[in-house]
Symmetry: C2
Subunit: 341 residues, 2 copies
Amino acid sequence: MKRRITLQDIALDLNLTPATVSRALNNHPEISDKTKKMVEETATRLDYNRNKIASSLRSGKTHVIGVLIPTAEPAFFGSVIHGITNIANSSGYDVIIYQSNEMYEYEVKGIKAFMSARVDGILASISKETIDCSHFINAKRNGIPVVLFDRVNNDLDIPSVTVDDYQGGFIATEHLIEQGYKRIAHVSGPQHIKAFYDRLKGYRGALQANGIRFDASLVYAGDISIEAGKAAVENFLKLPVRPDAIFAVEDFAALGVIKQLKARGIKMPEEMGVFGFCNDLFSEHITPGLSTIDQQTVLMGQEAVKMIFHIIDNNNGMYQPSKVVLDPLPVIRESSLRVST
Amino acid sequence: MKRRITLQDIALDLNLTPATVSRALNNHPEISDKTKKMVEETATRLDYNRNKIASSLRSGKTHVIGVLIPTAEPAFFGSVIHGITNIANSSGYDVIIYQSNEMYEYEVKGIKAFMSARVDGILASISKETIDCSHFINAKRNGIPVVLFDRVNNDLDIPSVTVDDYQGGFIATEHLIEQGYKRIAHVSGPQHIKAFYDRLKGYRGALQANGIRFDASLVYAGDISIEAGKAAVENFLKLPVRPDAIFAVEDFAALGVIKQLKARGIKMPEEMGVFGFCNDLFSEHITPGLSTIDQQTVLMGQEAVKMIFHIIDNNNGMYQPSKVVLDPLPVIRESSLRVST
DNA sequence: CTGTTAGCGCGTTCAG
DNA sequence: CTGAACGCGCTAACAG
């Protein structure tokens, strides 16, 4: 392995000092164009490659963003990462990924790793287990700005990018009502996660706005999993009066609902309407096509990076936490579309 | 923002020198247990957090792995990342992600960024455009080991983790033959990518092994996209004698095939058998369920990290590039399963 | 416009 | 078992 070329090497080659070479490469205004050109030429000739580590140590900026997600497995977070890294990379930032695997312990470890790596900013989506959020507060106290996306905490003074979950739940439920469904059930998710809490609220809001009495037995305390959806169906079918539509808190849960309804020979959308939330990649391609709420995942990632860049650039102390709320986009497919009332 | 705690702070607090504190925290054998305990206590008390940057600069090791993928959008790469980061993180490594967006230019930029970040190793899956691979050679020359996964180059002396694509193509085709299909078509992908090239070869191999003459008109030069699958179907239906089964090089292409066959009212698997490759998340949930080859994505990621760690640990020059080839696992679903011949 | 000096925080010599 | 001194490669401050 050949020794790496340093600023020193370029400087010696041109009878300059490392400092000048550094400034030239950083396009410092006080360097003559002639020198800049010379330096750049020898840099490429010698195949120079800046040591980002040394640069970071000296400048105190790493140009690295840490992204903490529950898991990269479903398409959802892959899509957000897609949005994040493309913008970050084209702005000269590196992105490091850490997965909590939905566990509080790993989430805390991830933040520690980010602090140790001296990232310039953190984007995070909290795990299902997470209730105590002091690790985020701690990062902020250490001067690392944090932006939460999608899965945020209810009462945290941290900027965030989310979709309007209340509105999404409202739209989904109201759509089912408009399609003539009378008894609409809901498969909910863990309530300490604001997104899931808000979707339930949106569901209730739509019922109320349309003069339908809320019936607690029509809410199944589920989760974002296929199994939860299946279990919810079994639960609903045992009721004295079964529902005629199900709004699931998330697409995988809705998928479970669909699978179980199929297994029971219940026709969608005729006998039972189904609505999801997320617009995961598969939703379009299953049968029946799943009606759902698009969360604009790529955009969500992009907005989150933009926000963190904004905070990084204005770190003169006074930054007021802002919340970006994206519009939930209804995507209507066969699972909820009755031809006529 | 409070100043970050350094080794110096701990040293002052305990009347020691930074050197001793450093050794204590690194569990150096020549430090007394008593001192180690003291140091660790004050470290946690002062909320010390090692500056990885300074450490990297000094030691020459960053404990960072760069992962270059075409795109994080489909579930496939998300799944690989899942496998990679979990092992890497639990081994104290950070993972930085870069997307080529299937473009050669960005791929080269990504490798440059990794070199600049002084990553200890690179895992990469090459873009569709990539033909010249000198950027990988260059990284190796600079002492950064490279392991390719899934999308590798034909004639490169670089260790890699792939699935046995020939075998996969063979199994898929032979399965269709066993199901009684007589005219089996193939939607192929860009041939400079070894994986796609091998799948075509496996297809031909299975035909030959079963005494079926290869017919060039039954191979559609496609791509890994829904559109390619749809176009392939249109192409095949125009033939004088249409095929009765289609093996697509990848699941999205197969999805396009299924969609177009549905649009044309052609029944699967009765009139046309369909087989994919990848076992993407959606394949199980569409109708009909897509028969496909599972690539063991999570395992692939894990094997890739393990291999790069192995190389990093034995960087005493002599490491012979090895190729790990995973078994392709057939997953048979409705799209190719005729009840009887 | 360029050179000089110094130091970011750590780990690794070499002493003792 | 611990301390003293140095340097990884770069950039910021101050000269000139």
